[in-house]
């Protein structure tokens, strides 16, 4: 059977598409989740909406109140435009994601999480096959 019985996998493809563009996913996942809660039996429509959720715009199109993402070489800014003046903007609720090769981090008294990439092998080894990437 090679047909999907649900449009849910398409949502994963859309989220992955945004991820590969380097966009921060928190707002996108939140919006996907909220749309799903609003129209839970129309997953295809949620997907269609999410495909149009993020649009590339020019600096001239930025308006106060917009939530935007600015992608610089190694830094990504996400925030709400509080003020636009003289070709510059002020963002509030700002999130900055910075790519660095290395960084010293103090881990004392910090909450730390670890990713477990072997989770399928550990939880359901009979479904783990040698992965052949495309």
């Amino acid at each position: 059977m090679t047909y999907k019985e649900s449009d849910f996998p398409q949502l994963l493809e859309i989220l992955n598409g945004y991820r590969t563009k380097g966009l921060p996913l928190d707002e996108i996942v939140k919006q996907t989740y909220e749309l799903y809660k609003r129209v839970p039996i129309y997953i295809g429509i949620v997907g269609m909406c999410m495909e149009h959720f993020v649009n590339e715009i020019t600096p001239n199109e930025i308006k106060n109140g917009d939530t935007i993402v600015i992608m610089d070489k190694n830094v990504v800014y996400k925030g709400k435009v509080q003020l636009k003046k003289n070709g510059k903007i002020k963002l509030k609720n700002l999130m900055v994601i910075q790519k660095k090769t290395t960084q010293d981090v103090n881990i004392k008294n910090k909450k730390i999480y670890k990713f477990n990439y072997e989770v399928l092998e550990k939880l359901w080894p009979s479904l783990s096959f040698k992965h052949k990437g495309k």
Partner: protein, 420 residues
Amino acid sequence: MLIKKGVYFISGPLNIKFISGEVESIGRKFIPNEEVFVPEGKRIPLEVNSQEAVIETDDTGKITELPSRTIPDDWDRVVEYIISKRINSVIIFGEVDTGKTFFSTYLTNKLLSFNVKPSVLDCDTGQSDIGPPSTLGIAVFDKPILFMTEIEPTKLYFVGSHSPAEHFLHYLCGFTKLLNFGLKNSNVVIIDTPGWVLGDGGRMLRNSEIEILSALGTNYLVILLERNKEIEHLVRSIPQERIMRLTVSKKASPTSTDERKKLREFVYKKYFSELEDVEFSFQEIFTDRSYFLTGEKIENKTKIKSIKWLERLPGFEGLYVVSSKQITDGEKQILQKVYNVKKIRNPVVEDFKNVIVALLDGNHEFICLAIIKDIDFVNSKIYLTYPKRYDVRDVKIIQFGSLKLTPEAKENGFVEPGIL
């Protein structure tokens, strides 16, 4: 070897010859000088009903005496109820490892002893006894059996995967098709269901099966094999006279997921023994449950060298592009522009390899399973390997599944639904 009246447990592999005495197993009575073989991994109870019996065996160490019957007493009243109420379909619900197949075997043998012709519809696509994994199978019985695996399936239906998950519609189509067949060709259809009884999927499937039984106008009975009322939620709205609650046999024991995989592979290996290769040109077959070969073939007007095959699909489905490697975002934009489409479906050649398919005749009847070895997109040919005991001259349709299997019958992963 002389054995006294009582109950014994036999573990395979073991050959036994019954010389004298009244001996039965799972409702099947043995006749003097009858020989049976218990395969590896299988265990059966043996009930000696006469004061003593004489058997011959090659390993007495594999026979152990039990303090009591493994078959609960309440099982014995089921047959009388079925006959007296003229029940024509019996659906068995129970969690995994509650002995549903064991009970089906027992019921089959008991019905036969009353001259009632039963059929068994095996819906456990993961642990299939009638037919290979990923199929639903039905067998009509005219003589008692010890193991469901002994009998050749009368009819099979390819679900496409070991699990009905993501294959609900085809599972239910197959269920209906084979149930109908059983109703026409036997007196009672015994339906052995998978142990998926909890959560959305489990509830939805079991509920749909009952709805189908009801929609077809069958006089059905639901058997609940329960340890502690754990599947009562499945029958809350069903009339009580249609439900019979039975005790789980003491024989039922858990099987790990790894053991289940090994058992599946064992059955696959048996099914895919003595293979032969066959090739079909794209022109002589139809595909089913895939996008492949369902659109209009078009020429590659781009300079993208990795493209091996192009089809225009109807409406918004867009373009179907088979390539040697995944096309890039840039190549996707070129294709969208050249062919004026938005959506592009892009399987790679490797996706097709080792996929299990069903070979069907022109009436959509199952002939056998096969494994895709390769596809030659230049010469429009598909190469398959299949068990050579089947006649594939009438094959008209290749029905795609979502599992991959090596020619050595080892499970080899999945193909994502909707890709091919």
